[in-house]
Every structure is written in structure tokens, then in C-alpha cells.
Symmetry: C3
């Protein structure tokens, strides 16, 4: 796979990732991860200091599915919407069977009354592999947020 | 045309689209649509409820040309500038002769005095076809805004 | 080099450019420019009026290296972080040995206390060439900001 192909396949994965969250198709979001995976939301500060703990942490697709179920129960998701704008991935060297990439993102939140605000910016640190069915899936998505000030609503996937 | 080519040609069309609006080359904007086309600005709420009416509606290139002329007469466009940041398109399945895509966007507005604000976020629902001259043009661009609160200035293309 | 390759190589250069600034690897930023180059930050207003002077101006890689050294001494960079979101480049016609492109950008600033704001939006007017080592580098990057209201912090590269 050429670098150009890799870039475009990654970009397509990111577009699908954003669409699952922003169009409220949350149930499809865990399917973009491998069964054994790492999904973590953390801050640039914590990342720099080497803190392993994340604000959100999941190490399997099953945990991501649970998380979506909790969000649906809490009904928290209905109160606002999100819009991800994801930059082009920057490829990093990795092992032969995986793609390592860093990708900047920005999320705008729109409240029910129409107000919009900058909700989060940061970088995705990704490890992506081709799964048994030939699709690219996340082995790791580390969401490193620029801001350390978090809303209680950060239970929402970023 | 491979998916990679399609993605890049769509991205180029979107870049040109944004440039026409943001660099105040509005007169070139209708030329990115087919003669018979659909351009509509609506909200996610209205879209969900199946309301057909849009805040802005045009079903031909001629109507888009009229709209630009009105904007020039009203001189409304001089008072602020816009900056579109458009994500990578997500391809959807469509008929053989057209490309169907969903593409996230964000628009920042800059006022004459230098203040900037988040003006709009949302998703473009597009149907794109190759015209007689070989260029890609919009058969449909549905601009679905996340926020339902609109400024009177929304006469401006998004 | 096909247009598709050109677009993707430019996008990769932009991703690397943003990463140098946003991940605080400022020392690597001058290496993305040719030894003889033009880097200028200006405003859309000044650009329209044909004012040559920029808010920041450098015409060699050495000047960019000096600028980074000054920023480190002033320690100004530690107080906030930036996040660039860069759109896909729009190719323009240029001389045979260079790529001419216009690329929209948005920068969000995050303060130490976690507050985020829209710091700048605008367009990069670029001339890019293949250097002796085969890498693409900027012969020119003109940063044209939409807003004319500047923070004193604009000593930071955009």
C-alpha cells in the first residue's frame, strides 16, 4: 500500500469515525475498533507527565459497546450535538503490520438552544491495523486534548 | 475512477467552492453547480423532521446567479468575511453516474472590527456529476447546519 | 507527478508544519523552508491594499532559526498551546519547477487555565519546490489572516 493510499484510507476511517458520533450513530462507533484495542481520552499535560490514567479508558470493543449503552440510558447525548473537523493524518513509522499516525482534530458543540462553542481540540495518536475482514480498524486511539479543563459531559466519545 | 481519485477530485471541488465564497469571488460560485441543481440550506432539526423547506432554496444555476446579484446590490457581503474549513468527504453509495458524499464543514466569520466567531457547522449532503465539459459539478448540495439559531446574514452562501 | 500526488504531498507537508508548531517542536519548523525563502504574516486588508510590509517577515531560513531562538529565550511559547486545522490545498498554476497553492487554515489557542479561543483564520499562499534532497520545502509561505486585530503574541509562527 503506497503512502498516498494509506493516507486516504486513514482519512476515510476518520471521516466515518466522526460521522458515527456527529450523526448520532453511536452504536456503529465501537465497530471501528479491533476487538482488543485501547481507547483513551487524556490531556497533553498528563501525556507529558507520563500519567497512564485517562479521563476515559477502554481496552476492548466490548467496553466501548458498554459505554455507548450507558450514554443511551443516561440520555445525555440528546442535549447537544457535536461536529468533528479532522485534519489529514501525519504518518509515523511503526511495525510492518500497523499504521501509526498523528491526526489533529477540533470539535464544536452545539447546544439545544443553538449556541455553539469550541468543545475540544487536540491530536489523535493512532495505531491502525487491517482486520480479518480486510477493513482498517483502530488498535489504539489515544485522544490527547489540548485543554485540561473538562466539562462533565466528556463521557461523550471524542 | 478509483475511490482515491474520487475523494481527491471532490476535495478539490470543495476547496474551490470555499475559495469562491471566502475570497469574495462569489460570481464564480454558481458555476460549480449544474444548470439544473438543488441548493438548500436547512437545519439538522428540520432535516430530521422531514421539513422540505429550507432557509435558502434554489433549484437552478440561474437562481444562484440571481442570489449573488442580490447580495452584491445589498452590499451585505462587504461587512464581514468568512473562512470555510471543510473536512474530507465521506463517500456513500449512489447511482452509477453520480457521486454521493457527506462532508463536514465549519465556517468562521470575521467582522470588520476583527472579531471572529463560529458562524456555522454542519454537513454537506452532496450529489456530484461529471458535466458535459468533463468537470465535476454539484447536482445537489444540501447544507445541513447543526444550529437552528440563525443570523439574518444567512443570505450568504454556506 | 500527478495532481493527486501533489495534493497529498502538500497535505503531508502542511501536517508536518502544523505538528512542529503545535507539538512544540519549533526547532524543526525552519527546516521545512528552503534556505532562501519568504515567510510573511500579513492581513487580508493589507494584502488587498498592496502593502508589502508584514507583521512578521523573514527572507531566509537563518532568520526563521533566529526567530525560534528569540521565542525560546522570551519563553513566551510556554504559556499557551496552538492547534492548527489545515484544509486541503487548492492548486494554482505556476512555473514548471514549483507548486503554487492556496490553503485555508484555522488556529485555536488554549491558555494555561484551559480556556480556548479562535486565534486566527486565513489562507496560506504557498510556493513549494523540491529541494536538493528530494523533499518538498516552502520557497514562500504568505500567511494572510482574515482578522486585522492582532494579539501581541503574534510573534508565534502561524
Amino acid at each position: 500500500m503506497s503512502d498516498a493510499d494509506t493516507l486516504l484510507r486513514l482519512a476515510a476511517l476518520n471521516t466515518e469515525y466522526a460521522s458515527c458520533i456527529d450523526a448520532d450513530r453511536l452504536e456503529e462507533w465501537p465497530g471501528l475498533f479491533l476487538e482488543r484495542c485501547l481507547y483513551k481520552i487524556t490531556t497533553a499535560d498528563n501525556q507529558r507527565r507520563g500519567y497512564a490514567a485517562g479521563i476515559v479508558y477502554a481496552d476492548s470493543r466490548a467496553m466501548l459497546i458498554d459505554r455507548v449503552a450507558s450514554l443511551r440510558e443516561a440520555n445525555i447525548y440528546e442535549r447537544q450535538t457535536y461536529r468533528h473537523i479532522i485534519g489529514m493524518p501525519g504518518l509515523r513509522s511503526g511495525e510492518a503490520d500497523e499504521i501509526v499516525a498523528e491526526t489533529p482534530f477540533l470539535v464544536v458543540r452545539t447546544m439545544r438552544d443553538g449556541r455553539m462553542d469550541l468543545f475540544a481540540t487536540g491530536v489523535y495518536l493512532d495505531r491502525v491495523r487491517t482486520d480479518a475482514d480486510g477493513k482498517l480498524r483502530f488498535a489504539q486511539r489515544l485522544v490527547v486534548c489540548d485543554s485540561s479543563r473538562f466539562d462533565t459531559l466528556l463521557a461523550i466519545p471524542l
